[in-house]
């Protein structure tokens, strides 16, 4: 039975998409069957994995709003074992359109339930907000993974995120648990990164992954070629870090 992991943090630019795309690709290259669900209207995970978004006529939006079946919309990627349920600009309309739907928080959960026996991991890339797209992902998920950029503003956002997760646990998903916290864009040379690491480790303890994702320009270049880091530059520190993260996720079982 596969595990649904929501990759979430309403703080913007903390590497949610970069983590979703590269962790998924590494898990797939280790022989796992993985599905990415791009639930961010920006569709960065969709283009980051090499899909031409502008040619798509349907996407995750249709699963949520038009009751389309997930099977019909899943696309293959360049990596064997890795598939994606894409997002297009259409998804931007979903935040508002979901407000009026019955059982609006449970739509993703219902749609993805049937996929759990086809994949080992289903990673949902969330937008930088705590609206209904993120609430749908957190309700569908078995666990959540929080990327935290090693900078001051990213620390501040954690309070709001944890409050929201607590209210999801009390309402639509009592079984939701923390998969792990990941420090991203970490630069050992700066005090700032070290200070943020100390604070995050003190709070999350062994839930903070041993793997720290370093700042690495290759990770920022890869999306412009539509490639995950393991296809763009296998020798980079970014690739090594996401490989090591994938091993930690596998070990957490």
């Amino acid at each position: 039975m596969g595990r649904i992991i929501a990759v979430t943090n309403q703080k913007g630019g903390v590497a949610k998409t970069t983590t979703t795309v590269n962790l998924s690709a590494c898990l797939a290259s280790m022989g796992k069957k993985v599905l990415i669900v791009d639930s961010d209207p920006q569709g960065n995970a969709t283009s980051g994995i090499g899909i031409q978004k502008y040619e798509l006529t349907e996407c995750y939006y249709d699963v949520l709003i038009n009751d389309e079946s997930v099977d019909a919309l899943i696309l293959p990627t360049l990596i064997p074992g890795l598939e994606i349920l894409p997002a297009t600009l259409q998804l931007a309309g979903a935040e508002v359109e979901l407000v009026g739907k019955k059982e609006r928080e449970y739509l993703a959960k219902k749609a993805l339930l049937s996929q759990k026996d086809r994949y080992d991991y289903i990673l949902m890339d969330c937008p930088p907000s705590l609206g209904l797209l993120t609430i749908n992902a957190l309700t569908a998920a078995d666990s959540y993974l929080i990327p935290v950029q090693a900078e001051y503003y990213a620390l501040e956002g954690l309070t709001l995120l944890l409050k929201t997760i607590d209210s999801i646990k009390r309402s639509s998903n009592p079984g939701l648990r923390l998969e792990g916290v990941l420090l991203t864009m970490y630069d050992r040379r700066t005090n700032l990164s070290n200070q943020v690491e100390d604070e995050v480790r003190a709070y999350f303890k062994d839930k903070l992954y041993q793997t720290l994702i370093p700042k690495n320009i290759k990770l920022a270049e890869a999306p412009s070629f539509g490639l995950p880091i393991c296809l763009y530059d296998k020798t980079s520190t970014g690739c090594e870090a996401y490989d090591s993260l994938a091993k930690e996720v596998l070990n957490h079982g």
Copy 2:
């Protein structure tokens, strides 16, 4: 008569808050009277300018939802001439609560109208989404300023942003115009930054500010001390860049 500028981009982590705080501080130190409106529930601009959020009982939320007067909630900052209408976690409830209110897009505009003759500039820091908090800011604004991180994913987001702005112009704010586009976290040494600059300049032409904000660790350190860059490190490249931006904004009159 003061000008309301919405600092917006639904792409996360592109330096909306860093630009709002530092541009405001530089304009104030050039003798202008400036108000920051923190319309992001994360409240990064509020803490970035040195306000202890957790001690506040009311904020911008109360202006929108409880019809509180702006005058009563404005706070001074360490910089003469610079004040702030703060945000706290309470504001997170506004996105949903606004949905049911009459004239929900116009609440910020109504509240801030009376402030336009007290300030030369009112800068609104927007959250990384296109929900009702951003729509309120774009409806209240005379113009909008778009920070664009010099990276691939940030380019992708511009299509969605410009579509949303067009629909605001057709509905709630026909007079809305582009203040300017600002390249942030620019690193001259990388191809990526240069490629993004070429694409953005080709599209926005003279609306792209001459000033490019360089990657500068001092800009990321300053918020942890609650200081704008001009108080944290006046000699830094980050401070020089925001000074130069302030001069460009003043010249655009």
